[in-house]
């Protein structure tokens, strides 16, 4: 017995030594200097996100993604929340310029308000990425939807439905958000680019809802009473268009009125597609935007170029969601992307 024990332990020792020597002899690969420098340069950088406001799917989604990367590459990521107030936003931006972080991710309330300040920021050497809503000044990078494209798609869909001889009529209503916001300015352009080729389509109402569903609701209610035979409606944003939709539902015209809206592809939006409140939902896929945003952030932080030296932009792909293709894959919830 004892002997056996000895034997076993001896053998084990032998094996151990053999393997040890073997590993010593093995090739241990090369250190990748770029990886280390990548991590080193990013470490300790400061990125600040200035949204329209926190508390709705888009901003929360982007923030989640950006924070994730910040934690991964441990650079500092902060949020300044002006809570829908352009004034507070400008104040925040102004103090940011004083603070001079490495990079600002700006979400413009309209194409003008931040324009000058963003220019100032870049002049001070702060790199600026604009997300989804651009401003007059083009900055180091813009990531987000191509509103003109969304406009076109939406318009085409509506024309498809309410064009010559189709639908209850040719009447179409447009609910804009904030007239000076990029989403409106460019999307309207896109919409009309299409509609102009279809003179039969009659835009019976085009009113600003300030992203406010209640306002959207009452407007749509009004419109529906003015034009009971309304055929199509284009909304600028799913959050506000829940109001539009419910107005249509209440009027019992769910089937008659074809409602197109666009949004970040949040689960809530998808639910509304499922229960038939939205007929077409053009999603600019917030998680995707978030990832691209992250890539841009990393790129800019790494690049040697001065702020505002060369300006990039990327329009992310859009997905059209309808009752048929609505599913988990192209819808997301905050918890998933955290």
């Amino acid at each position: 017995m004892k002997l056996g024990h000895l034997g076993i332990s001896a053998m084990a020792a032998l094996v151990a030594t053999v393997t040890a020597t073997a590993t010593l002899a093995q090739n241990k690969g090369l250190e990748n200097p770029r990886s280390t420098s990548f991590h080193e340069t990013l470490e300790g950088k400061k990125v600040v996100f200035l949204p329209l406001s926190m508390g709705f799917d888009l901003t929360e989604g982007w923030a989640a993604r950006m924070r994730a990367q910040a934690d991964r590459l441990n650079y500092d990521f902060q949020i300044r929340d002006p809570a829908w107030s352009t004034d507070a936003g400008t104040r925040a931006l102004q103090s940011l310029i004083g603070e001079a972080p490495d990079l600002i991710v700006a979400h413009n309330p309209d194409i003008q308000s931040y324009a000058r300040l963003l220019a100032q920021a870049q002049a001070k050497g702060i790199k600026v990425v604009q997300i989804n809503l651009e401003s007059n000044t083009q900055t180091d990078s813009y990531v987000g939807a191509d509103w003109t494209e969304i406009g076109k798609q939406a318009a085409e869909a509506v024309v498809e439905r309410c064009g010559e001889g189709k639908g209850s009529s040719n009447k179409v209503a447009i609910d804009t958000g904030v007239p000076t916001a990029a989403s409106d300015v460019f999307q309207l352009d896109g919409i009309y680019k299409v509609l102009d080729q279809h003179p039969e389509i009659e835009v019976v109402s085009q009113q600003a809802t300030e992203y406010n569903p209640e306002k959207a609701r009452s407007i749509m209610e009004t419109v529906l009473q003015q034009h009971p035979d309304l055929c199509g409606a284009i909304g600028i944003w799913d959050n506000q268009d829940t109001g539009t939709a419910s107005a249509i539902e209440q009027a019992g015209k769910g089937d008659q009125v074809f409602l197109v809206t666009s949004g970040g592809g949040n689960r809530v939006g998808c639910e509304n597609v499922e229960n038939g409140m939205f007929d077409l939902y053009i999603s600019y896929n917030v998680p995707l935007q978030g990832d691209i945003l992250n890539a841009e952030i990393a790129r800019l932080l790494l690049s040697e170029t001065k702020a505002g030296e060369n300006k990039a932009l990327y329009f992310n792909p859009l997905t059209q969601i309808t009752k048929d293709n609505v599913n988990q894959r192209n819808c997301w919830t905050l918890d998933e992307i955290r």
Binding site: I79, R80, D81, R91, A92, Q94, R116, N136, T180
Partner: protein
């Protein structure tokens, strides 16, 4: 025991309890709390946020303050008029729109644009003004409606111009200067704001319109009855508000060169918060430019810093809400209770040890007698409160009454009397100048001169203000007695700087050196305080050496001698100490003696109380003033004192019936005339061993 008293004395010498009460009497105390709040916030933020006080940051703050501050001023003006203006936000938006349309769209010169913007503000303000001022609509609901209307206008016009506005940049150097420029780091917009603020402050606090505004806000009805044109004033308040808002809008547009759909939304609430936080109280009348600015800065700093600390916007809202509640709560309670607290803490007694009272029994001079028992009464019921009495060369008797007159009784029998002069305040000390003018200390007024023809003229009513006194001690509150030096200088005592004539007795409870000795120099016309911190300095009389004077410190029960001239100029030494009562006026008498009137007698219990300040403070706080323990001033006594300060004789009124309190004496041709501040009579008694034809006049100024 002794050690304990030492400690007590020390504690009351070192800790100035009285300051608290004196602070509360100041009107500016209202602004102190918001200011403190501001300071605290700044400190906290500087700790929390690195580089918070950086020049750049301050410049930004300056820009923002200048915009919001102007609107806060607008709100303040309206609130001062007793109204409220909820429409500032929408007004602001409209004005911004005007400015931008002029600059960006129409491309007008900046001057024209400014004019247009102001015009827009003026119109909006005028609408409010006419509705509320002239049609007398309710401010709240009216401005609420105009808020909706202006906002609707904005919503209608804005989308039509939006793209045009954002489409183009105006090219105007001045425009950019206003927007971004600065002088030595101070933003231009802030300079503009500062100028406006200062002008407004002067207008509100120093000029008639401002006073009218406050009057209307404070008590509309009274203002109306006082003949102020209420309608016009109120209307103007709103017009001004409109103009200020327009100015703010102009600065705003210059800074951002753009406007959003939400411009000015909820601004009225932010501004209201700021203003109330600053200490402008609703219901009108109370508030200042300073308040508005403090509030604005506070709110801005708070909200900015919260964003800066990357708090969610909701937390921001939460905290601002809480702050507003706290502010209003405090404002209410403060207004309600300030006077209560004041009345509780103002009286602040201090430690005043007195040696054991000499017992009249063992001093035959002091022994209680009834020499005043048979006092002849003059003008019984005809005079009230003859504090001092004096006779002129012709033997006519003069005295002051609490009705504010100087009454003259015609000698030798003093049956007839007339009102010699009407002063207006209660004349206390009296003295004749060599040329026959009658000088008098008037309670609450100052020192006045009455010519033999009865013409009243002011001698002086103020002295140099001392630096470290919270109370404004440049005014004379309670001048008590005076005397005239050979060279014509007038030395007079002010009994206390903390209490008025009506409540002079409360000073007894304090027993602190609240009084002072003041000198008026007719040659230079200046008045200067010569001795401070005297314990109720009362009577004054010139010594015969022409270089010194005697003054009595009532609650300290002592008489001191002060040299105002000669070799030992400035020296003060005790002349008589530990008197049996409370000395009032001192006057010269025949045979080189002095008469000292004791307005009341010391009691062992009160002496004990004087050694127990805490006891007295509690007494003052807890029981009605009528019930306060008090020296026995129902019993008067007169002492005759030699040049060297020894006691020569004493005159008592045993029963205290005939002549209760004695505050002054005057010897004249063998008679001693007695005055008493709480009497309705003048007393007169024969003096044994006096010089029959002695009068003060010859004693002072020699024979004519």
């Amino acid at each position: 025991m002794a050690a304990k008293d030492e400690l007590l004395a020390l504690r009351y010498r070192l800790i100035p309890d009285r300051l608290l009460g004196e602070l509360l009497t100041k009107s500016w105390i209202d602004n102190v709390i918001p200011a403190l709040a501001l300071a605290v916030t700044v400190i906290i933020m500087t700790i929390l946020i690195p580089g918070y006080l950086s020049a750049g940051n301050m410049a930004d703050l300056g820009r923002q303050v200048s915009e919001m501050g102007l609107i806060a001023l607008a709100m303040t003006v309206v609130i001062l008029s007793g109204g409220i203006d909820l429409s500032v936000g929408s007004m602001f938006a409209l004005c911004v729109l005007t400015a931008l349309t002029c600059m960006n769209v129409a491309g007008l010169p900046i001057g024209v644009s400014l004019a247009a913007t102001l015009a827009a503000g003026l119109l909006c303000g005028l609408l409010n003004g006419v509705l509320i001022g002239y049609l007398r609509l309710r401010a709240f609901i009216t401005t609420l409606v105009t808020l909706v209307i202006f906002r609707a206008l904005y919503d209608i016009i804005f989308p039509r111009l939006a793209s045009a506005i954002v489409g183009s940049f105006p090219t105007s150097a001045l425009w950019d200067l206003i927007g971004f420029g600065d002088f030595f780091g101070v933003p231009v917009s802030f300079l503009i704001f500062a100028v406006i603020a200062i002008v407004l402050h002067i207008g509100l606090s120093r000029l008639r319109p401002g006073w009218r505004l406050r009057a209307v806000g404070g008590a509309r009805r009274s203002a109306y009855n006082a003949g102020i044109n209420v309608k016009f004033t109120v209307c103007m308040a709103y017009v001004v508000s409109g103009l200020l808002t327009a100015t703010a809008a102009f600065l705003f547009s210059a800074r951002l060169g753009s406007t959003g759909a939400d411009t000015g939304v909820g601004l009225e609430i932010t501004v209201l918060t700021a203003v109330v936080l600053g200490g402008v109280s609703l219901g009108g009348g109370r508030g200042s430019v300073g308040n508005a600015i403090i509030g604005t800065v506070l709110v801005l700093i708070l909200s900015n810093s919260l964003i800066r600390l990357s708090m969610p916007g909701s937390v921001n809202q939460l905290i601002l809400g809480l702050v507003l509640v706290a502010a209003v709560l405090f404002d209410r309670k403060w207004i309600k209770n300030r006077s209560k607290i004041l009345s509780k803490v103002y009286v602040s007694p201090t430690y005043l040890p007195l040696r054991d009272r000499p017992d009249p029994g063992d001093d035959d001079y002091l022994a209680v007698n009834d020499k005043l028992g048979g006092v002849e009464l003059i003008g019984l019921g005809a005079v009230e409160g003859p504090e001092d009495v004096i006779l002129d060369r012709d033997g006519n008797l003069y005295t002051g009454t609490r009705h504010g007159n100087i009454v003259r009784f015609f000698g030798p029998d003093f049956k007839r009397h007339e009102v010699f002069a009407r002063i207006g305040g209660h004349p206390l000390g009296l003295a004749f100048s060599p040329d026959g003018d009658l000088l008098t200390c008037v309670g609450g007024m100052g020192v006045y001169r009455v010519t033999p023809q009865g013409v009243v003229e002011k001698v002086t009513d103020e002295t140099n203000r001392s630096l470290l006194s919270i109370i404004d001690d440049s005014r004379l509150r309670l001048p008590d007695d005076l005397d005239i030096a050979p060279d014509g200088r007038v030395f007079f005592s002010e009994a206390t700087i903390r209490y008025d004539m009506s409540e002079w007795a409360v000073d007894a409870l304090e027993g602190r050196g609240n009084g002072r000795l003041i000198c008026y120099n007719p040659h230079t016309g200046t008045t200067r305080t010569v001795l401070r911190n005297l314990i109720f300095p009362n009577g004054i009389t010139m010594c015969r050496d022409g270089q010194s004077l005697l003054f009595a410190e009532t609650w300290a029960c002592r008489i001191s001698r002060y040299w105002f001239d000669g070799p030992s100029k400035g020296r003060v030494e005790i002349f008589m100490d530990n008197l049996p009562g409370y000395p009032d006026n001192i006057n010269r008498g025949s045979n080189g003696a002095y008469w000292v009137a004791l307005l009341g007698m010391r009691t062992k219990t009160f002496d004990l109380a004087m050694r127990k300040p805490a006891f007295r403070r509690r007494m003052a706080k807890r029981i009605a003033s009528d019930e306060w323990m008090f020296p026995n001033i129902n019993r008067g006594c007169v002492l005759q004192v030699s040049e060297a300060g020894e006691l020569m004789d004493s005159y008592w009124d045993k029963a205290g019936e005939n002549h209760p309190s004695i505050t002054s004496t005057c010897e004249h041709r063998g008679w001693l005339y007695l005055g008493g501040v709480s009497n309705n009579r003048i007393g007169r008694v024969r003096i044994e061993n006096s010089v029959p034809d002695w009068t003060i006049h010859q004693d002072y100024w020699g024979e004519r």
